[in-house]
Symmetry: C2
Subunit: 204 residues, 2 copies
DNA sequence: GTGTACCGGTACTCGGCCGTATCGGTACAC
DNA sequence: GTGTACCGATACGGCCGAGTACCGGTACAC
């Protein structure tokens, strides 16, 4: 982590000298991510982002050197754990709530992941930012959920299905648009948890 | 149509007049799909495909009007059912064999799907070709497998997990690279079938 | 031998985007 | 009031790719 004199959290330290307020920065980040969702990474242009936020291309290039660095910064600043705070005391209910939460941001994040999925193969920084922003936090939250369930004795430690729970949840989330032509909503995911995940874990 | 001299299957009828042999056409299709896997849809250029197949850009544009139409033709010509011929008489063994087969082409098809995933949102023909080539045949094969299992009484009809089996299989296949950084191999998928799919279906 | 029609190669137009440079305006410090 | 440093606008260079046009070569029909 090499954390040294870093009193600035996610926003770049330069924003002190810049006249870009954090709120303004958020607008840039939201705009670029939204356009990536809509048009794909390659089709997004710095000019387009500048126009949609009524700023100048120069402003963007002054803060961030290149387009991938800009996008990576946007991703890092958008890191949020959507499963945060889920802890009902029961694994089944935890998973149901997670499914419900996942259904709510399914459209947005799935599209972002899809749009960036191939761009990351050519840019290391982008790949890392994507994992840190969208993948790792949710996986970690899910694994904590499972670990609590194991600690409570709801599932035996080392149960073979445990390792697949995150992959299943994310997988179903991501492929539903391809298979059924619509994003996975909360209802679909909750039924999935009850029909597959919990039975596989030996619950109910 | 014009079914006389019916040695021309799905290659365009015009290839009669073209001097491009079906084998040569295959080279073009293989090349463009391979380059899409490696560089992504947007980064693939007609010039690149022409160069790698030692033909001329003119030749490609003579046969196919535009880049998306060319890619769509390549996809349609590459349709193949990988699960074809799996019918062991036991649902569990069918699924295991399907998992093994899926593991073998996982790298290739997953990358193709990922690379095209966002391009299809802007081109209708491409989207249809992708579904016909990579998605629908496999789903149909899986569903037949399940239907046979139900018919044999191995799983009760209307079992709630049935509808999720295709989504699970494809989902796990697709997200594994994102989660674990490697493509799903046959071993991983077979263990998944045994740890999750079969228990969810009430088999073991 | 003659014609036809396709192939490969090259050169070209056109448009788009990245990233840079320049310039006037303006908020803020002191 | 003066200086400074950033903002927004615009223009520009450079590059690259889609798609077109044109040309010589050649296989094949008759």
């Amino acid at each position: 982590m090499t954390s040294q004199a870093s009193d600035e959290p996610e926003t770049v330290a330069a924003s002190r000298r810049s006249k870009i307020t954090p709120e303004r920065e958020r607008e840039f980040f939201d705009a670029v991510l939204e356009q990536i969702r809509e048009c794909g990474y390659d089709s997004v242009t710095m000019e387009g982002v500048a126009a949609s936020t009524r700023c100048s291309k120069s402003t963007l290039y002054r803060q961030w050197k290149t387009k991938p660095q800009f996008v990576a910064a946007a991703l890092r600043a958008s890191r949020r754990v959507r499963f945060a705070g889920i802890d009902t005391g029961s694994l089944a209910e935890d998973l149901r709530q997670a499914a419900r939460a996942a259904g709510d941001w399914s459209g947005k994040d799935t599209r972002l992941l899809q749009a960036l999925g191939h761009a990351v193969t050519s840019d290391q920084e982008l790949a890392q930012a994507l994992r840190e922003a969208l993948v790792h936090p949710e996986i970690a939250a899910l694994e904590e959920m499972l670990a609590r369930g194991v600690a409570r004795g709801e599932v035996p430690a080392g149960h073979p299905a445990l390792e697949y729970v995150p992959a299943m949840m994310f997988g179903v989330l991501r492929v539903r648009p391809v298979l059924n032509g619509q994003y996975a909503d909360a209802d679909y995911l909750v039924r999935f948890v009850e029909a597959v995940v919990l039975p596989a874990l030996g619950r109910r």
